[in-house]
Symmetry: C2
Subunit: 232 residues, 2 copies
């Protein structure tokens, strides 16, 4: 497998054919009236400490949220695709608690907090759902971090992306990773070299076809088997 670098993927996002279940998208008739925000690679949507006046619905592109501890440790808390909501974790607080950054060109819909808590808007219940979804997703990843080895974690990560892309109407076999190996490793609790090694190994095993950010899942069922521990 050849060496490769950060090629800025310029491929535009394809049109989504499905609505993400559980998202705010289907429940925001006022969506078109809300302010939108375009963002470019590395652009910051909000930072920890800033006054949290809105939540952000991802409309296009991929974003990451990162948590920074006071002693300098950093961790990617999640990657966010179309339909995901960012900033809900700040709803009980005055300020955001993490940074949100665009990994690529994208577009956000900004939903003011006043609207979220406005009973007549009927959003609170849906935001509650989004939050509960977040908790369940986090628990799933905590389980993954605590019980799986490097190979299983990376496989789980790819499968998660694949599933989410599929539910958005994209191909589940073709992944264009917008995040770096360091981001993935950070999210999975692995060194970036470990991520690379696993990807190389899965490429050798003909399960993946890895060309830097461009990953093709050749054998989906084999990948699924890899993502879970061996049966006793």
């Amino acid at each position: 497998m050849g060496i490769c670098v950060a090629t800025a993927d310029r491929s535009d996002t394809q049109p989504a054919r499905h609505v993400v279940p559980g998202s705010l998208a289907g429940h925001l008739p006022q969506t078109l009236l809300l302010p939108r925000r375009r963002s470019r690679r590395r652009q910051v949507v909000y930072r920890a400490g800033q006054a949290a006046r809105s939540v952000f619905l991802v409309h296009a592109g991929v974003y990451k949220t990162t948590l920074l501890s006071d002693d300098g440790r950093e961790r990617v808390t999640g990657f966010h695709l179309k339909g995901d909501v960012m900033g809900v974790e700040a709803l009980g607080e005055a300020a955001y608690r993490c940074d949100a950054t665009a990994l690529d060109t994208g577009e956000l819909i900004e939903v003011p907090r006043s609207l979220v808590f406005d009973p007549s808007a009927g959003l609170l219940e849906h935001v509650t759902r989004a939050l509960a979804d977040t908790v369940r997703r986090d628990w799933y990843w905590m389980l993954t971090l605590a019980t799986l080895d490097a190979e299983q974690r990376v496989a789980s990560f790819l499968l998660d992306l694949s599933t989410r892309q599929q539910s958005l109407g994209y191909s589940p076999h073709r992944l264009l990773l917008r995040m770096t190996r360091a981001d993935i490793g950070n999210f999975l609790g692995l060194a970036l070299e470990s991520v690379t090694r696993v990807l190389s190994r899965l490429d050798d095993a003909r399960i993946l076809r890895v060309a830097c950010r461009d990953v093709e899942i050749v054998d989906l069922s084999a990948l699924r088997r890899l993502a879970r521990p061996a049966e006793p």
Copy 2:
């Protein structure tokens, strides 16, 4: 340090002098009218798959919630003290997603979901806060799992318990662990032997005084130093 076993702590909980910030406790004037449920060691409050009709406010005792994956992996997602709310992660779903178990004698206040979503009750906003708190706490632990070694994780765990006990009006120095080493290790992503080893080491270093479930924090500031990575 001597060998010790699971001694069922019969010491009753002391009265709390403070209200947990962010909990439902202060916002439930109807609390006294709601059904309560006493529970004993190992008793199950709810199980994954059961219809989720209520959330549960911990009134006394310690509970744990555990997530079970379809391939048999299990993980403790959290330990819950007085003032914490269990079951909010199921708010967007028909059924609970995890098991909740009492680690000791305790008492719960059952809040029906219908009341949670009743606008006139004014609970939804507070439940949203509880959920956002959960997300932030989970993120903190994900950061811990991903970036800290065994000693730092165990130290962080003890400090977290200490802080929570203090905010409930108890001593921050005296911890009566209601959970087993296996529970702690599972929660922290460590083997139970590693937890034991760290506790023994901290006992040797005069930072803790460990007698099975009874842990005294002798040197709180040293423990705080241990919980963070060495300065560069």
